[in-house]
């Protein structure tokens, strides 16, 4: 960037407040079809997001957001003129930008990972091929790996500034099994430190699923208990995250009230949910000292003992609600329960289901309703017998299901989720044979 953007924004007449972010990303990518290389890619991107604010006559605040890429730097004057025109039309309820503060230091950059990314990519290929070869009756269908280094620099007109340099590995693989390779299992994950890249462990786990996937049957149409794995669980919490947000509360959409239970039903029959956001976890996927508006981040309890403890909010909605800003969502921590996984997986009177993977779990944020196909799991009988299942669907409402939920004692870390390895929900509707 050749222009002094800070000076430019501060000296442009008509701009009341401003903030900008410069984001640089260097990425190395490997794509495998079976064991063969399909693509090797190197990507370098830079993007500047600029937000300007203008005071309007009626006391409202005008806002415009625009972007600059390196080839557009010479257009800055033209873009600013257009942004001021837009801000004159985009009238919003006023709020203040984040104020200057010393941010916490969190380790986010794995130097070893980004020192020689080409070598890391090559090692990845060798490790994944070796790990698959170790497994019986399984082949690699495809795999992708991206190693990236992201730098984000933030500054605003209230003297707030900070920089985040973060390393990231995003990877996936698909495994095949069966005489005619008729069954598959797949995994995708991201992490920030090479020590978190558990290729061998994940291949072993998903090879097991791929083999079991050869001999699946449909689940039974029933109303019974389901146990959902950590990897699959996170989307189910999205309605809770939405309803505890300043935006949903200000917009009058939230059904949550501070200090009141978050489940729907006459009484709690299972364990209480405890949920927090923790942006301070070293090398956490969503760890960050500040959010995209420059608000300093810290650990915050959102749901405590099954009740809404704190509203999380961006700076805008915090000002609207006159509450302290917490900043945007980060890593999600869910407290463990009292029973271990084996206890949760015990069927008593009738078969229960252990869900390893849904096709796509996409609950409605407002209602908490969801309906999703079972991609793979197990039917567990009172005798302890486990039968692999696939197909059919599960229908439910997360607010109702939380009235009768049990959290495993074992804790797992998967992406930005840190919590029980599994959660059991009693009395869920299953459509199958």
């Amino acid at each position: 960037m050749n222009i002094d953007l800070k000076k430019k924004l501060a000296s442009t007449p008509g701009i009341y407040a401003w903030q900008y972010k410069i984001k640089n990303e260097h990425s190395y990518q490997l794509y495998l079809t079976k064991e063969q290389i399909e693509y090797i890619r190197k990507v370098q991107t830079e993007q500047i997001e600029i937000v300007i604010y203008k005071k309007l006559d009626d006391g409202k605040l005008g806002e415009a957001i625009f972007y600059l890429t390196p080839v557009e730097e010479f257009q800055i004057d033209e873009k600013l003129e257009k942004a001021l025109y837009i801000a004159g039309l985009a009238a919003q309820k006023p709020f203040k930008l984040a104020k200057s503060i010393n941010y916490k230091t969190i380790p986010l950059l794995d130097e070893e990972l980004i020192k020689e990314p080409e070598k890391v990519i090559q090692d990845f290929r060798e490790r994944i091929i070796k790990a698959v070869k170790k497994e019986k009756e399984v082949e690699l269908s495809s795999s992708e790996c991206y190693i990236s280094r992201e730098t984000t620099y933030f500054v605003n007109s209230r003297g707030c500034s900070g920089e985040i340099i973060k390393s990231m590995i995003s990877w996936d693989f698909v495994l095949l099994s069966g005489d005619n390779l008729e069954s598959e299992s797949w995994y995708e994950g991201s992490c920030c430190h090479h020590s978190q890249l558990d290729i061998e462990g994940k291949i072993a786990e998903y090879a097991h699923y791929a083999r079991d996937n050869v001999k699946t049957k449909l689940p039974r149409t029933s109303k019974t208990a389901i146990v959902i794995n950590a990897k699959t669980l996170l989307p189910l919490f999205e309605p809770l995250i939405a309803h505890s947000s300043g935006k949903f509360i200000y917009d009058n959409i939230s059904i949550f009230k501070k200090g009141k239970p978050i489940f729907r039903g006459d009484k709690l029959r299972g364990e209480e949910l405890n949920m927090a956001f923790n942006p301070l976890i070293p090398y956490g996927l969503r760890s960050s000292p500040f959010d995209s508006d420059g608000v300093a981040l810290d650990r915050i309890e959102i749901i405590k003992n099954g009740k809404l403890e704190n509203i999380w909010s961006t700076k805008r909605y915090a000002d609207y609600l006159e509450i302290p800003p917490t900043g945007r969502m980060s890593n999600i921590e869910i407290s463990h329960g009292t029973k271990n996984l084996q206890e949760l997986l015990k069927a008593e009177d009738c078969p229960i289901y252990h869900i390893v993977m849904f096709s796509f779990l996409n609950p409605d944020l407002a209602s908490g309703d969801f309906a999703t196909e079972i991609r793979f799991g197990y039917e567990i009988h009172p005798s302890g017998k486990r039968i692999p299942i696939k197909g059919g669907s599960i229908t439910g409402n997360i607010f109702e299901m939380l009235a009768n939920a049990y959290f495993s004692r074992e804790i797992e870390m998967e992406g930005n989720y840190f919590g029980p390895g599994a959660v059991k929900f009693n009395s869920v509707s299953i459509s199958g044979s």
């Binding site: 409202k60 080839v71 985009a90 805008r316 096709s359 409605d364 696939k390 059919g392 229908t395």
Partner: protein, 455 residues
């Protein structure tokens, strides 16, 4: 850029058997009106150049947003340094060439309509949404205009295209004091601002009626039903089953069951499914794909027989016995191209929707489809709709279920299709490949009657 890119391709082809370059310039605006006010944002996009070189076995690419001639020449030099050319017999046909330019036809280009005029229209729509019913607790409306300029160059081709897409989302929240529901209506086309005129009183009334129905809806009893799908649900079926299911990059990975069914009769003869990027005005339109292949329709199912899939360049190289289609698409220059859909739909048949409903003793009419998920390997599917209307004795009973999920084995559901409707409608969508790689598409078709598992 149209002069520089051929020079870079020529330099690369001094070392490698095939090279190409793609320049992407993506711009546009989103305008949203909600309770707090008006938001106008430029679209964040990655604008830059991707340079690709085939080494005889696989592709090397370098992509950058730093597009000065000096930097691009340097990137080419660095790229070539990393490449070892493989001695194979594989060659890539650069295709019929020329210097071609393509533009989306619009009645009202987004550039010709004042921002203030667009904002006023959105304010009026949001105001009407809020006043639709006393149970409305919130509403917003968002408009998006996207203009994509691309240049594709290989040793024969020097193509440019400008694609203009506009979409509008209307979102309505209602509450009965206990439950909150959210309904959405999405319009989108490869055309201009004229799309805003499609938002009329009928559409607002439809959103209101459906949202009230969602508030009162019950959960469906899981089981097998006669199912009638409205055109957008039909479109999701086409997309998830004979879109994702026939992406030929998956054939190379043994990742799609469809590969074993080429040439098989999978549905009655009145069932036809097409992927067509040339379908003028539809959201997934383009003139050439991201690998320079000129757009053309792919007849995936013809008269019930599964004929062919859709391909990207890499899969067409290694499956040279199968025809190449124009479906090599990438999310942005930051990602590689994959075999992806454009506008995918069931071709209309002969039945009126009234005939289809009257023919149903007991069944569910799936309405307001909003989501689907593919399973190319198992050839299963998950299709979600917000509304399921009960039909008894050939008539709607007024009872509504929400949400509804259709699941099942694709050949089973196709084989059971007894009616194909005569109305053709499409909706815009964003399509992901498994969990990432978003591209813009349209889906659609006609009413279908089949049998499927609902939950």
């Amino acid at each position: 850029m149209r002069k520089l890119l051929p020079e870079l391709v020529e330099i690369m082809e001094k070392k490698v058997p095939y090279a190409s370059a793609l320049a992407d310039y993506y711009r546009g605006l989103t305008i949203k009106k909600d309770k707090q006010g008006v938001y106008v944002n430029e679209i964040p996009s990655i604008t830059g150049v991707v340079l690709g070189a085939f080494n005889g076995e696989f592709f090397h690419e370098t992509a950058t947003t730093h597009c000065t001639p000096h930097n691009l020449r340097q990137n080419v030099a660095e790229l070539l340094d990393t490449i070892t050319v493989k001695d194979t017999n594989i060659s890539i046909d650069p295709g019929e060439g020329g210097y071609k330019e393509f533009y989306t036809k619009t009645l009202q280009s987004p550039m010709q309509v004042e921002l203030s005029e667009k904002i006023e229209i959105l304010k009026e729509i949001e105001n009407k949404l809020i006043k639709l019913d006393s149970r409305v607790i919130n509403a917003w409306v968002a408009y998006k205009e996207q203009i994509k300029d691309q240049i594709f160059v290989n040793r024969n081709k020097n193509f440019t295209q400008t694609i203009i897409r506009v979409n509008v989302i209307l979102s309505l929240f209602m509450s009965d004091g206990n439950k909150v529901v959210n309904n959405m209506e999405i319009l989108g086309k490869t055309k201009g601002v004229e799309i805003l005129k499609e938002i009329d009183e009928n559409l607002l009334e439809k959103i209101k009626k459906e949202t009230i129905e969602m508030l009162k809806a019950e959960k469906i009893k899981p089981g097998f039903y006669n199912v009638i799908t409205c055109p957008d649900v039909t479109g999701i079926i086409a997309h998830e089953t004979f879109g994702h299911g026939v992406e030929m990059d998956l054939y190379l990975k043994d990742g799609a069951l469809a590969k074993d069914y080429i040439g098989s009769k999978l549905a009655p003869e009145y069932v036809n499914i097409v992927d067509d990027p040339t379908l003028e005005g539809e959201y997934g339109c383009y003139f050439f794909d991201d690998e320079g292949e000129l757009a053309k329709p792919t007849y995936i199912i013809e008269n019930g027989i599964f004929k062919r899939g859709i391909s990207d360049l890499y899969s067409s190289i290694y499956l040279s016995h199968l025809p190449r289609s124009a479906n090599g698409r990438r999310e942005s220059i930051a990602r590689k191209p994959y075999a992806r859909m454009s506008n995918t739909f069931f071709v209309p048949g002969k039945h009126t929707v009234e005939e289809i409903i009257e023919s149903t003793d007991y069944g569910i009419y799936m309405d307001n489809g909003y989501f689907g998920m593919e399973d190319p390997k198992g050839w299963g599917m998950q299709i979600n709709s917000r509304i399921g209307r009960e039909i008894k004795g050939g008539k709607f009973t007024g009872k509504v279920f929400s949400p509804i999920t259709m699941t099942g084995f694709v050949p089973d559901i196709l084989k059971e299709i007894s009616h194909v409707g005569n109305i053709f409608l499409t909706i815009p969508g964003t399509c992901a490949k498994r969990y990432k790689e978003d591209v813009l598409v349209a889906i659609g078709g006609a009413h279908l009657k089949t049998k499927a598992r609902l939950g």
